[in-house]
């Protein structure tokens, strides 16, 4: 299955793609997901993260089949 990764809004534009997929590893955190996909790009400050559509910290563990999202501060309403 792997981990489905999504990017939104200005972050997606900056990265040049909306989605990634990677294999899960034991004890993988949200921070490790980012570092594995973007080894040369530090996570921009203020980036929000979600796992399975719930806000999550960078330390949260992710598992095979999870959906991880990275996005800038929200500006609705």
């Amino acid at each position: 299955m792997g981990i489905q990764v999504k990017y939104f809004a200005s972050l997606r534009d900056r990265l040049g793609r909306a989605e990634d997929r990677l294999a899960a590893t034991e004890g993988m955190t949200v921070a490790v997901v980012w570092a594995a996909l973007w080894p040369k790009t530090p996570l921009p400050p203020n980036t929000l993260t979600a796992v399975n559509m719930e806000y999550a910290s960078l330390e949260q563990i992710v598992r095979d089949g999870d959906e991880v999202a990275f996005f800038p501060p929200v500006t609705g309403g």
């Binding site: 939104f8 809004a9 800038p72 500006t75 309403g77």
Partner: protein
């Protein structure tokens, strides 16, 4: 309690009236209706704005709007609530969001309407991209109030 995302322009007061008469359980019970309507301006950060795109995170956005309304119903004694939020392409004067809350008395309706709106602005995953005179730009943060 109803949450809707709309990809086409809507008339908040028409929606409000239609919804209110359609909710049988409300009839005779509500003494207060508080509403907030957010509308697209033709300026932001001192620049004219011609249009706007509202992006969202399908699934997460609906889930968080639902949760915000549920939290409001736990905090206050509400009879009903309606949230309609636009996504997609907007023009100046287009409504962005309608929040309507019904309760027996005004205090709960006023407080819950404000709460839902503030929570929506800080937690619901929506992002605005403006079409300004100098090109398109993402709105980086909301105004404080």
């Amino acid at each position: 309690m109803t949450i809707e995302l709309r990809c086409a322009s809507f008339e908040p007061l028409v929606e409000l009236g239609r919804y209110q008469v359609s909710q049988g359980e409300l009839q005779g019970r509500y003494g207060a209706t508080a509403i907030f309507v957010g509308t697209m301006r033709d300026f932001n950060d001192g620049e004219p704005v011609r249009g706007m795109t509202l992006e969202h995170y399908p699934g997460m956005t609906e889930r968080h709007l639902q949760r915000i309304v549920e939290t409001a119903t736990q905090k206050w004694s509400l009879l009903d609530a309606l949230v309609i939020h636009r996504v997609g392409e907007l023009r100046p004067n287009d409504p962005i969001v309608l929040v309507a809350v019904w309760s027996a008395h005004r205090a709960a309706a006023f407080a819950a309407c404000r709460f839902i709106m503030e929570e929506l602005k800080s937690k619901a995953p929506f992002w605005k991209r403006e079409d300004a005179a100098t090109g398109t730009r993402w709105v980086e943060h909301n105004t404080p109030g």
